[in-house]
């Protein structure tokens, strides 16, 4: 079909006085393929909408150029208007003659405005419609990790009517919190019961994810259970694989044992019905490094308080900084001090040595400016929060980068809270870093909302072929597959001999890296293709 173009010029209520609109129109009318050039006043208002509608309905055009304000303001609305008028929004080309032209310069800018519009016209000639189509997606979600986070995510997803499969490495659900006495373990028990009762949650214990292929809406996941391996399909995957804690060996010259114990061991002692010998003096040491401090801080404050209240021992806490930047922690810190827990802050790490069956802590208290030597019956060491076993393996399996400490999710603010660079793969809770309970809960709600948004019941509408690889030109060099940060490119078999790259429109984030790098020029990003950009340059006589 021959190109027939309509051009709308907007003078912004007559305020763009440094552009001679009649002159611009005169110049444009002489170009080829132009059906009409209209000067209008307020394209963004209702009158503008009417002006566009009546012209498009009568003139039978197939390309639209609008010269007005920044695309930031109205591009989406103009696109929607064209769609209403049965014109594909992909056939619209905009020229910014307000912010980038009239407002940017003093004096007459008619020539620049004309050039900007001619560039838009040049591009418009080559534009192709970008159809949108419905794609069927699998709405089932795989949740990896049967601890608090994974269980709560599954429960909330199931309440929104989303089918979930929960995979846990251990033989039972519950994770770390199950081992704690009292409030937490009762919560966990209740959750396990609810999950077992829920109709749309499938539980796979003693199972591990061993392979993930495919893309959002259609992930093919291999799950190993004992000696068997099953292959299942899911729309999205939520990782809630948790963390591990460890007493950092390098920080303590003495090995943890009878007198130097971990937080976990202290909790066991606190929970035991009887105590062999009540420790008179207890020292806690934490925040030796500044890494992942929220978790150790909370554990230390809670346990120090518990020791004080149950055993009535003298409690000293040695730390660099008390990390109180979570809800309620400052109050907990105050409570501990009011109850008689002593806090001593050091800059240089304290020296720890054995002293006749007890432990000597040699530290400099920066606030007193004095050296403090304390002999303790018991020293509780800092437990560091570290990525869970298998995090590295899974991340390389998923081809997803981790942060500088090895936790899932890159340090990219645009991915927070729970997204990853691959659409449809999410990370919740402590597997993505050092979070307190409030933040973990926000994570869980976020992942539920994000899954629901990406995979609504039924079908998903995507722009088909905004970015596509031409199977005739593709030589399957794999460059695009290597560079795509979203893993949106896959190889597909076209016949017995040929494989070519195919871009999933659901997984694609429209970053354009593949189109720029493809050595065979097989990948085209509609609206920003090489010929369209060259046409813009040639339109103003530069070549």
């Amino acid at each position: 079909m021959p190109v027939r173009m309509g051009i709308f010029l907007c003078d912004c209520g007559g305020s763009l006085k440094n552009i001679d609109f009649p002159k611009v129109r005169e110049n444009l009318e002489n170009l080829e393929d132009i059906a009409f050039v209209d000067i209008t006043h307020n394209l963004c208002l209702e009158e503008g909408e009417k002006a566009i509608t009546s012209r498009i309905l009568t003139e039978n055009i197939n390309r639209v150029v609008i010269a007005a304000c920044s695309p930031e303001f109205r591009e989406r609305n103009f696109g929607e208007l064209l769609e209403k008028l049965r014109l594909n929004p992909g056939l619209l080309s905009l020229a910014n003659i307000r912010e980038q032209c009239s407002w940017a310069h003093e004096g007459d800018v008619t020539r620049k405005a004309l050039e900007l519009i001619m560039m838009a016209v040049g591009k418009a000639r080559l534009l192709q419609p970008v159809e949108r189509k419905e794609v069927a997606v699998n709405n089932e979600v795989l949740v990896v990790g049967g601890g608090f986070c994974g269980m709560k995510s599954s429960l909330e997803l199931s309440q929104l009517g989303i089918r979930t499969t929960l995979v846990e490495r251990e033989p039972t659900l519950g994770g770390k919190l199950k081992k704690l006495e009292g409030f937490y373990s009762s919560q966990i028990e209740a959750m396990i019961k609810a999950i077992e009762k829920a109709e749309n949650i499938e539980i796979l214990t003693s199972a591990e994810v061993t392979g993930v292929e495919g893309k959002i809406g259609d992930f093919k996941v291999r799950i190993r259970r004992g000696t068997k391996e099953i292959l299942r399909s899911f729309g999205a995957i939520v990782f809630a694989t948790g963390y591990k804690t460890e007493v950092a060996a390098g920080d303590f010259p003495l090995k943890p044992g009878v007198n130097i114990i971990s937080q976990e061991r202290l909790v066991q002692l606190l929970q035991a019905p009887t105590l062999e010998a009540r420790p008179e003096t207890i020292g806690f040491i934490f925040d030796l490094s500044d890494e992942n401090p929220r978790f150790p801080t909370l554990a230390t404050l809670n346990n120090a308080l518990a020791v004080k209240q149950r055993w009535g021992s003298e409690v000293y806490v040695f730390c660099k900084n008390v990390k109180v930047d979570s809800e309620g922690v400052e109050k907990l810190y105050r409570e501990a001090r009011e109850d008689g827990v002593m806090f001593l802050k050091f800059d240089k790490n304290p020296k720890i040595s054995a002293d006749d069956g007890r432990v000597k802590i040699d530290a400099e208290d920066t606030l007193l400016g004095e050296e403090i030597v304390l002999t303790c019956d018991l020293v509780v060491a800092e437990e560091k929060l570290l990525p869970a076993e298998g995090t590295e393996g899974l991340s390389s399996l998923l081809k997803i980068r981790t942060d500088s400490q090895g936790f899932y999710q890159e340090e990219n603010v645009h991915l927070y809270p729970v997204s990853s660079e691959r659409k449809g793969i999410f990370f919740v809770g402590n597997c993505r870093g050092d979070l307190d309970l409030g933040r973990v809960l926000a994570d869980i709600s976020s992942v539920v909302a994000k899954v629901y948004e990406l995979l609504p019941p039924g079908k998903v509408i995507v722009e088909a072929e905004r970015v596509k690889a031409d199977p005739q030109k593709c030589v399957a060099c794999l460059t695009c597959i290597r560079v795509c940060p979203h893993r949106a490119v896959q190889l597909v078999q076209v016949d017995s001999e040929k494989v070519v790259a195919e871009i999933s429109q659901l997984a694609c984030d429209k970053c354009g890296i593949c189109a720029a790098i493809c050595p065979a020029k097989a990948i085209k990003f509609e609206g920003y293709s090489d010929d369209q950009i060259l046409a813009q340059i040639e339109a103003i006589g530069v070549s």
Partner: protein, 417 residues
């Protein structure tokens, strides 16, 4: 009972905007009620703190969300508006909204700027919106405008090409019916540093707050003191101003991070500047922040303990009296300027809204939650909290909480369908 698929979000800051977008993406109709003339809230005045690398302050996340909200047909933005009454219950609330006179209709204003050109007052009574403002429309300063002061001027109305300017408006009340749920996201007040007299804020021109500094960097791009036009060489930050004291039993969670980022930005722009940070406990939690702190330690001086007094010194300098722990004595040092790292305080007007909605306030003055383990639900079923009005939060945490509130609202509505 049929639950309605319309939701009112009170407050157009980063948390409210996030909730609104999340709900609209899932097919809900949203009324975003904003007290000010523009949405964006506090985060709209923050600056990018990138040095040669991004320092992940997240200030750039707002403009992106703003433009998304602006072009979303399912989100109605009601600016200059306040919620003054609520009736009904979960699934079907009636929300009464009062809109102050706007004088310039954001629906009609095309931001051409001709009104400002003809406005005869100095400074102009009609002002242009900041570049990323949503809605992107002009506004009239009531105290400057001749017409609103009873004089006869009509110049702006005559020139406006779209008849967007209307005088003689009265506050308008409208009722939003069939509202399924309400999300409260009214944000926070920046702590007023004048309340701590000995720090000299408001008395000495070269004592600024962190929020002042954000604005200076945002508007000027680099640091110059307005008092004397000098480029400062010696700078101090004082942490925990309005946090962790007898009146504030909480950590504001943002000040250590913004102070370190601003300090790095100053060092980046002026490598010979000397920057000191006085602190109680440094908060270095968060993705990648421990490494950032290590880098800061290389060229920023950290002193434990916050100063006890600030006074004016000759040649526009500020004298800081602090305890020098290493030498065990009280020291005095002069700085070109001092930044008070002010914290997040509950909004002064939150009790009014609490009364209208029937929700509780907690000990610290932030809105209270129904139960631990659930930071978005209030004591009233169907009313949710998002962002810093619940407890102090930085931008990423506010975004996460905003999504969280939207999800809770969706789930509760789904359950009662």
């Amino acid at each position: 009972m049929k639950a309605e698929r319309s939701i009112v979000v009170i407050g157009g800051g980063i948390a409210g905007i996030t909730s609104a977008l999340e709900l609209a993406n899932s097919g809900f109709t949203v009324y975003l009620v904003e007290k000010e003339a523009r949405i964006g809230g506090q985060a709209a005045s923050f600056c990018c703190k990138a040095t040669e690398v991004c320092t992940k302050c997240s200030a750039c996340l707002l403009p992106q969300k703003l433009s998304e909200v602006a072009s979303y047909p399912q989100i109605s933005i009601l600016t200059n508006s306040m919620v003054v009454g609520v009736k009904g219950e979960l699934g079907n609330f009636q929300v009464e909204v009062c809109q102050k006179p706007q004088y310039i209709s954001p629906q009609k204003c095309i931001a051409c700027g001709m009104c400002t050109e003809v406005c005869p007052t100095m400074p102009k009574a009609i002002q242009s919106p900041p570049p990323e403002a949503v809605p992107y429309s002009y506004s009239i300063n009531e105290s400057q405008c001749l017409r609103l002061k009873g004089k006869k001027c009509n110049l702006c109305r005559e020139i406006c090409p779209t008849n967007a300017i209307v005088f003689g408006q009265k506050p308008e009340r409208q009722e939003l019916n069939n509202i399924g749920a309400i999300i409260v996201a009214i944000g926070f007040d920046v702590f007023n540093a004048r309340e701590i007299g000995y720090l000299g804020y408001g008395r000495y021109p070269n004592v600024l707050t962190g929020f002042d500094l954000e604005r200076i960097f945002r508007n000027q791009g680099s640091l110059k003191l307005s008092s004397n036009g000098k480029e400062p060489k010696k700078v101090a930050f004082i942490q925990c101003v309005g946090s962790r004291d007898e009146n504030h039993g909480y950590c504001s969670q943002v000040c250590c991070k913004y102070a370190m980022r601003l300090a790095r930005l100053i060092k980046h722009q002026k490598p010979d500047a000397e920057v000191t940070i006085f602190y109680i406990d440094l908060q270095t939690a968060g993705k990648g922040f421990a490494e950032f702190y290590k880098e800061c330690q290389g060229n920023i001086r950290f002193i434990r303990g916050v100063p006890v007094e600030i006074s004016e010194a000759p040649s526009d300098e500020v004298e800081v009296k602090f305890e020098n722990i290493t030498e065990g004595k009280v020291d005095r040092e002069n700085f070109d300027f001092v930044t008070l790292s002010v914290g997040i305080a509950p909004r002064k007007d939150s009790w009014e809204l609490a009364k209208v909605l029937g929700i509780n306030l907690g000990d610290d003055g932030f809105f209270d939650i129904k139960e631990p383990f659930n930071s978005t639900e209030t004591n009233v079923e169907g009313i949710f909290l998002a962002g810093a009005c619940q407890s102090p939060k930085d931008i990423p945490d506010s975004i996460a909480h905003g999504i969280s509130a939207a999800e809770r609202a969706m789930e509760v509505l789904k359950r009662c369908q």
